[in-house]
Every structure is written in C-alpha cells, then in structure tokens.
Symmetry: C2
Subunit: 487 residues, 2 copies
C-alpha cells in the first residue's frame, strides 16, 4: 500500500469512528460492565461468551474452551487465505481484584470523565468527543481496550470496503492476572489451531512520554507471602510487651535486611542469573526519552526510591517489591496486643536470565540464614513451641522474563504502523515493566512474539480508578486498521 493509499484508508477509518463514536463507547462500556475479577470463574465465563460473540458477529469462527475450575480460553480465527500471513492476537479478559482502594466510581460501572475528573454522560450519536476524556472501570486499560480497538477497526474496514491483508488467529486468556496457571496447557492442547507467523501480545501502556512503543520483552514474575509467627493468642502488651517475641517486629527486621539504602537487593545471589545488559541494549536504552521528571510530578513523588535513578535502568534488573503488610490492626481498631502473626506479601519482577524458582530459593535461603525455621503451611502448635523464629513461606506462580531480537521484520512493520497511526515516532523498548505470560506463547508456539500496547501510561492499572484515555482507543483503532490491511 502506498503512502497515499494508507492516508486515504486512515481518513476513511477515522471518519467511520467519528460517525460511530457513541456506539463504540457504549459497546465498550457494556463489555466493561461485566465484572471480571481474576479467579471469579462464573463471572469470567460471562466475559468469555460476550467476547466470543462480538468476534463471531464480525465473521470470525470462535470457540470458548473450558477447563475444570479455570476461566476458559477463547480461541478463534478470521480468514484462512494461505497466500496471506497470519497474525496471532493475544488479549486477556480477566482483571485484577478491585481491592479496598478508594474508587471514585464503582469499578464495574463504567464512567466517562473529563480530564479534571468530572463524570459526564456517555455521548449521544454525533456529539463531539474529547480525546482527553477517560473511561473509568476495572480492565478499561488492562486489558479490555484491545478488544474495543480491534472490533472497531474490523467494523471500520468493512464500512470502508477494505479487505484484510492478513489472517488472524485469536487467543484470549482469562487467568493472566492470576499468573496464567493453565495458559501453557491450553496452548499445547490448541497448538494446531494457533499457528501464526507472529504473535502480538496486546497489553500494557504506551511509553511514559506518550509516544507509541513496540516492546521486545517483559520482566518475569514471581513472589511470595511470608508469615512470621509469635504467641498462639494475642497477648496484652503491658503484661508481655518486650518479653514475648513480637512477630511484627521480627518481620520488619527481617524485611529490612532484604534491601539497602542504595536500592540494591541484599539477598545473596539475587542478581547472579540476570543476563548482562549489552552495548546494543544500552544504546537503545539511552535513545529513550527521559520520563522521570514528568513521572515524579504525575505520581506525586518528590524523588525516586534512589534519587536520580532512571526507571528503565531499574527494569533491566530484578526487583523486590513489598506489595502488602499486615499484623493485627492500626488506627482506631488497633489494640494493645502482641500480634500472633505478621505477614508480608512480596512480588519479584524478573529480568531476562533470572529463573523464578531459583529466585524464590534465594529468598528462602536468606530467611533461613536469619534463623527462621520455614514451613509451607500453617504451622502446628508444636512447631510454634519449638522454634523461636518460625516463618511460613507461600510462593506464588511465576514465569521467566523473555526478550526477542530488535531486528525482526514484524518489529519494523509495527514501528511504521504505530508511527503513522499516532503521528509520533514510535520507540522500541527492550523490556517493559509489566510481567506477562509471554514466555508461554514463545515456549509453546515458537514464533516471534512482540508486545503491542495502546493504553495511556497513567491508566492506574491494577489499582483503584483504572481508566482508558479515549485518544488511546482511537490510536488502537487506527493502528489495527493499518496492521490488518498491510503486510
């Protein structure tokens, strides 16, 4: 397709989405109104059925494939012309738990807001729509946005009479936010139906600068809950305080040994498996726009954890994030007691080369070296009586990081399409912070897999007030229209 043809096609697509914007947003809101908290299998089945139905309505052959006790995977195909290349499209339809955070609007009542946060009615047909408006809902960005973009692109191309230049195969997962426990099994079982020349892993936000980006890799993920035990029952802190061991104090003292003032994890061997950053990586990293001042401002932070550190440099190393702490109560519910136990929840983001199981072994070794007897279930009273320091270590499912070479043809094609669709030069990111089950796709399907994000960077994914900027949805529509008509 010539530059002129591309421009003409984009004009028609944009005219279509302007005419039908109210319907596009309303359909998206309908999808977002389906609660989709990960592990809630009945709710996720409703999402799977709705999504399969939407693609079927566009001519795709879809199937919802179930697995006892797990959210189903939705697979399908659109087009089967052997003369055309086939693109695989991965999206996940489950969302993070909504937590106890301060949602300004209910997470499953999609709400349109102006940039200053005022809720406004969804537009009627023909109403002007501001690109800077946002839809607030769990999964608005992570990860239902790609569904809305792709479905709208298909509608716009049909309206424009433009044929598809690629076949599509689909794999829509419902367990990504739970660590994808069944994805590998699903992929293996459905391997023959998921053949493609490349897979696009559609998730995550564009670059912090707002530039579109193509991402070559992801951090891996692992994590654990660690519970430290004290007395069998809560004890009066006056009668026993500072004599009976306090598990909350034991826990904070143990956690404090895990990271130093320079932000370096001090667990023995923690960085030993990490693939070194090459000169080529370093050059790509240096080429990335600086995002830190704007980020600090937007996040309400005075400085980074280690003042002056670049975000991208931290992403090339494994992390140790204390995602939750709990012991007895604080605030008005606090009681003058020695708690019976204290729990920390930690997630570890992995860099290319880090083995998830080995990282957890290093943490266990660290805990043991600090004098703890470690169990993998609730300890017995006998175990509690026998060990001054006793900890329960509960690992969470994880997966390694992956990174693909920068010179794949699909990468160049994506960079060009993203640049045209957005009007801004797309950047290539060697790795992104998100942990995605990319390695399952790569390991099982054995074809190049690249990440193609469309969401705004400040989408609050995983947190309260998750949102999608409307302009990002339009970017996704335009991008997909180009990808579907070019090869």
């Amino acid at each position: 397709m010539t530059t002129a043809e591309t421009a003409a096609l984009l004009d028609r697509v944009r005219a279509y989405r302007r005419r039908h914007a109210a319907k596009v947003l309303s359909d998206f809101a309908t999808l977002l109104a389906l609660d989709n908290v990960t592990r809630d299998v009945p709710a996720l089945r409703r999402n799977a059925a709705a999504i399969a139905g939407a693609f079927t309505a566009r001519g795709a052959l879809m199937e919802v494939v179930g697995h006892d006790g797990a959210a189903p995977v939705v697979v399908g195909r659109l087009g089967a012309d052997p003369a055309r290349p086939t693109l695989g499209v991965y999206v996940h339809y489950d969302g993070q738990p909504v937590g106890t955070g301060d949602w300004r609007t209910p997470p499953f009542e999609p709400t349109l807001c102006t940039p200053d946060g005022h809720a406004i009615p969804f537009p009627a047909n023909g109403d002007p729509i501001d690109d800077d408006w946002r839809i607030y809902a769990r999964a608005a960005a992570d990860d239902k946005a790609p569904f809305a973009a792709l479905l709208t692109a298909l509608d716009a191309l049909r309206d424009a009479g433009a044929g598809l230049a690629v076949n599509l195969v689909f794999c829509f997962e419902g367990e990504e936010e739970s660590g994808s426990p069944h994805l590998r099994g699903y992929l293996r079982a459905l391997h023959d139906r998921l053949r493609a020349d490349a897979w696009l892993f559609c998730d995550g936000p564009v670059h912090h600068s707002g530039a579109p980006q193509i991402i070559l890799g992801v951090r891996g993920y692992t994590g654990f809950d660690l519970t430290v035990y004290g007395p069998l029952a809560e004890l009066h802190s006056g009668h026993f305080g500072n004599w009976a061991p306090n598990p909350a104090l034991d826990l904070v003292r143990l956690l404090a040994t895990c990271k130093d003032d320079a932000g370096t994890v001090t667990i023995d061997g923690f960085y030993d498996g990490t693939r070194p950053v090459t000169d080529a990586d370093r050059a790509a990293l240096r080429a990335l726009p600086a995002v830190e001042p704007a980020l600090l401002d937007r996040l309400g932070l005075a400085e980074a954890e280690v003042p002056g550190d670049r975000l991208i440099d931290r992403m090339m190393r494994p992390s140790f994030n204390l995602r939750g702490l709990s012991a007895a109560d604080v605030g008005p519910l606090a009681r003058n007691v020695i708690p019976t136990q204290a729990t920390a929840s930690v997630d570890i983001r992995l860099a290319a080369g880090d083995d998830p199981d080995r990282m957890l072994e290093l943490v266990r070794d660290h805990v043991a070296r600090h004098g703890y007897h470690i169990v993998n279930r609730e300890p017995t009273d006998q175990e509690r009586s026998a060990h001054r320091r006793l900890a329960r270590f509960t690992p969470t499912a994880g997966y390694p990081a992956v990174r693909v070479p920068a010179d794949l043809p699909i990468v160049g094609q994506l960079v060009r399409a993203a640049t045209v669709a957005s009007g801004r030069e797309a950047v290539i990111l060697p790795t992104v912070g998100a942990s995605l089950p990319l390695h399952d796709l790569v390991d099982v399907l054995r074809v190049p897999t690249v990440i193609l994000p469309i969401a705004n960077p400040d989408n609050n994914q995983h947190a309260a007030n998750e949102n999608l900027r409307i302009g990002q949805l339009w970017y996704g529509v335009d991008l997909w229209a180009l990808l579907l008509t070019q090869h």
Copy 2:
C-alpha cells in the same frame, strides 16, 4: 477479728456462694452480655446504669455522672460511719475493642466452658461447679470480674448477718481502655465525694504462678500511629517497582532501626528518664517465683524475645511494642502494586520516671533523624511531592507510671487477707505490666492507692477469647468478705 472468727466467717461466706453459685454466675453473665466496647458511649451508658442499679439494690447511694460525648463515671458510697475507715474502690466497666481475632464464641454472648474448651450450659441451682470452668466474654476478666466479686461478697455478708467494718466509696470508670481522657476531670469535680483513707484499684490478673498478689505500681502508657507515604495512587509494581519509593519498605526499614538484637530500644535517650531499680526493688523482684518456663509453654512460645530474659526485669524498663502493621493487602487480596502508604501502630509501656510526652518526642526525633518530614495530619499533595520521606505521626493519649512504697499499712492488710482467702502466700509486685490510670487517682485524690487483682493470668485480656476462671471469682468473693469485715 480472731483467726477463728475469720475462719468461721469465711465458712459462712463459702457456704453462701456454694448455695447461690448458679444465680451469681447468671447475674454475672447478664452483666457480661451488655456490650461495652470502649468509646461506644450509648452501650457504655447501659452498662453504667446496670452497675449503679446493682449497687443501689445492696443499699449503696449511687450516681451516674455524665460528660458530653464521654462514657459516664459511676460514683457512690456504702456506709458513712465516721468511726470506720473508708476504702475507695475503683473498677472500670468499659472493655477493649473485640477486633477481628478468632473468637470461638461471640464476645458478648457469655459462654461457660470446661478446661478443655467445651461449651456447657450454665448450671442450675445446686449443680456442682468446677473451679476450673471459665466464663468466656469480653470484659469477663478486664474488668467486670470485680463487680461480681464485690456484689456477691456483700450478699454473702448480709446473709451471714455480718456487719461491715469499713465504709466504701466507689468510682467506676467507662474510659479506661481509651486512655482515661476524662477521669482526671471527673475526679477533680467529684473530689469531695471520693474521700477515702486508701483506694483499691481493682483490675488485672494475679501472679503468673497463680499466687495472689498485691501490686504497688503500674507501667505508664503512650503510643502512636506512624504512616509513611508513597505515590498518590497505587502503582503497578512491574512498571514502577524499585523505581518509585515503596512506603511499606521505607516503613519497615525505619522500624527496624528502633530495636536491636538484644531487645534494646535504640531510640536515643529512650531509657534516660527511667527511675533506676533500687536494691530493695531488686530484692523484691528476686523473691518472685520464676514464671517463664510455664509461661512460654502456655503461650506456645519457644523462647522469650531475648532468650533467658525474665519477664519482671523487662517490666522495669520502657517497652516498644509494634501492635499493628498495615499496607495494601496480603494473601488472596494482595495486588501487584506499590502501596500509597504504610502504617505502624506502636504502644510504649513506661517505667516509673518516664515522661509520656518526652518519650514521644524522642520517637519523633528518631524518625526525623532518619530523614522524614513529619506532619500531624493527612499530608497535602504538595507535601507529598516535596518530601522523599514523609510521615504522619499521630500520638495516642498516655499517662506516666506510678509506684507506691511497700511499707504502707494497707499493703500488709491486703497481703494478709489475700493469703487467707486464697490459702496461698500472697506476693508483692513492685510493678505490673498493665498500664492503668493509677496516676490520676494518686495525683488528684492524694491517698495511698494499691492494685488488687483477682483474674487468672491466662485470661486473654485485650485479645480474643477473654475469660475468667470461676475459681478466681470465688477468690474475689472471699477476699472482699475479709476486707469488708476487718481493719
């Protein structure tokens, strides 16, 4: 009263309580069924009315004295013979919050249980009653037990035709578990009606060995909540982990600087105000039975915080107890986020000589020395953007420790009565672990004030499954019968 007369009186009192045990327990259960969580003023008013009514029914002149927004104080008098000494009786009728702990039976549905924890029906009249049975309910021990003991003693003495040898004045508080914010004001206002030769502060458990004890002092109390702030909204830990400051990690690293491996608080000046332990104190402390092996066994602990430490030695020093921790979520609700804030709740038990305000100043200085900007309310967004380390410090109300001389006549009298009533040699404890508003009584009423406990040491006060051993109630009845008939 001769030894023989005393023995005869005790026989009659014991015969009375055996005949009426079912009624005594049932009346006690009725009182315990009145929920009495501290700060719940409407509920506490119901308790105050019930208690005033019970003493009025025994011939006392009672008055419930209110204060806007506060639980009332119940004051009264029984007997006004100027030829007799007057004993002041302090009891508190509010209880600790019931928390989210694992209550085996609802905290305000008093339940009778056998020593192995099986619930049994309350006895009918004449049924045998085991001294080792327990009543489970919030405030069963802390601090409604003295009401049941004193009321039953009055009934038994009337039944025995025994006249009182002392006048009684009463001060029953409803805010003890909230730090007694109005007690001093109440005492000042009611000073003339509370004249007595000595006050008995009726609260707490007997010695850990089970021996009766007379207590000469209490630890003081202060505390604070400390909240450390991170990003304005929860952040995706993959995109921002180990670059954005994690307030939970900042908090644990800060808390870890507060106490060392030897159990010593490492906050500058923390022990400087503490009155040194004298040789006389040390002799009294040495005379106390060793309780640690049995305690460790009962509490399900392998060792003390600092192995080998004696409990009583820890009580002669100020403590630093981490009573609660909170940041985001742990367990199944945990999300992969950097929390926006993390909170620790700490209580500090004071030894004689420690000034509560000064102790909090030392903590604030310590926090500031670790680089924190400290605010006393929720910080503004501007403050969060301006300070890499930002903490909210919220002090709780406190009071100093007190300790009276061991050679007061009332002390000897109490030791003798407790020894006769229990059949075991009573011990004198220079200080107890509980923090009680003893200093308010001492400062305002300016007469000797001694603590007279009756509850079992393993009563789970302040925690789930609070209970009173029935034998302790009978000890309290016998003890009061002796105190009321002798001087």
